[in-house]
């Protein structure tokens, strides 16, 4: 403990009106329940998406329908993007807090850089979805697919492709912004003792 009069005088104000331990305990119990429900929701979401993917792939295999074949392909492409968000969330939860602040910041920066590199996958996903939409259009135009199915699938897939493309642009900016702030905070820690 620092035997310093200045700090002793500040300590009176610092320690004033401590919050109740019972309130903290109740708040934590509520927060933990919410965290568990949130994790369960993420898991359920992943299971539903995977089940849908397997179902469409099975239908495509059993039915020999070209549109369903393309649907299966589109699903297979879209699933990694959806799972990417879930994996990113899990990775964030695994940050090791029991280390120095500088170590934690550098670890966080590495992860953000990894996420930036993973955005290439989202770009490929958008491109493949757009190509799938075009393929459906071509099949409908050459009478290999029903126009009503194409009417439904083309806007759905091209819309999804556009949304994924816009999302990865937004995400890339967000991650670049985070790297800039991380670098500023890392510099704050590195320069403090100079």
């Amino acid at each position: 403990m620092t035997n310093d009069e200045y700090f002793a005088s500040l300590r009176r104000d610092w320690l004033r009106d401590p919050p109740s331990r019972d309130t903290i305990t109740r708040g934590f119990a509520h927060h933990r329940r919410w965290a568990l429900w949130s994790a369960a929701g993420n898991l359920l979401g992943a299971i539903v998406v995977l089940a849908a993917c397997v179902w469409v792939a099975r239908m495509a295999f059993a039915g020999h329908d070209t549109l369903l074949d393309i649907s299966a392909l589109a699903f297979a492409v879209a699933v990694p993007v959806i799972l990417f968000g879930l994996v990113a969330l899990r990775r964030r939860l695994r940050l090791v807090y029991d280390q120095t602040s500088l170590g934690l910041l550098r670890q966080t920066r590495d992860r953000v850089e990894t996420m930036r590199r993973m955005l290439v996958g989202a770009r490929w996903c958008a491109a493949i979805l757009a190509a799938a939409a075009m393929a459906v259009g071509l099949l409908a135009a050459t009478a290999h697919a029903s126009p009503s199915s194409a009417f439904l699938l083309i806007p759905l897939w091209s819309g999804t492709a556009a949304a994924v493309w816009l999302w990865q642009i937004w995400r890339a900016r967000d991650l670049a912004n985070r790297v800039a702030h991380l670098d500023a905070i890392i510099a704050e820690f590195e320069s403090v003792d100079r």
């Binding site: 403990m1 610092w14 004033r16 401590p18 903290i24 807090y97 403090v192």
Partner: protein
């Protein structure tokens, strides 16, 4: 073996004060406190040395605070605004004390993060040895940092 309940009993109010050094908004501050406790709870199985409980708890709390600041800065939130008095109808004397407490918290939030960390740990009555263990610094380095942080804090409190 330490449980989270004993940690809340021993360090709960201190962790709430540490959270207040990172966040001015009451609701976000409460969320941050819960996130700190959750991070401590998750890291508890890795704690081996019973003697180093305080550095362990404060290290995780401060690191969670740093990642909170990172997120808030990225979201362009202003984390240094001075919060208005909680209860304007309190008697004059306690209102003055509350104002002083708020000024201190606001000034600490304006310190660079490394200084903020040492100041809160000094105010929580940790020894230089424990502060060094918490932040991964040598005792002499802690002394230098405390002295510089104190100088900046004095200036900030004088300016307000």
């Amino acid at each position: 073996m330490h449980t989270l309940e004993t940690i809340i009993r021993t360090y709960g109010p201190a962790l709430a004060r540490v959270a207040s050094s990172y966040e001015v908004d009451r609701a976000l501050r409460e969320d941050l406190l819960q996130e700190m406790l959750l991070a401590i709870h998750r890291a508890l199985p890795t704690l081996r040395d019973d003697a180093s409980l305080a550095p362990f708890v404060f290290r995780i709390a401060h690191n969670r605070g740093v990642t909170h600041v990172l997120r808030e800065r990225a979201a362009r939130r202003n984390a240094v605004q001075i919060e208005p008095s909680d209860s304007p109808e309190t008697p004059e004397e306690s209102r003055i004390e509350a104002d002083r407490t708020q000024r201190l918290h606001a000034a600490i939030r304006r310190l660079p993060l490394p200084y903020r960390q040492v100041i809160t740990l000094v105010l929580e009555e940790l020894s230089h040895q424990e502060i060094g263990e918490t932040l991964g610094l040598s005792v002499s380095n802690v002394g230098v940092r405390v002295s510089r942080a104190k100088g900046q804090l004095k200036e900030l409190l004088r300016d307000e």
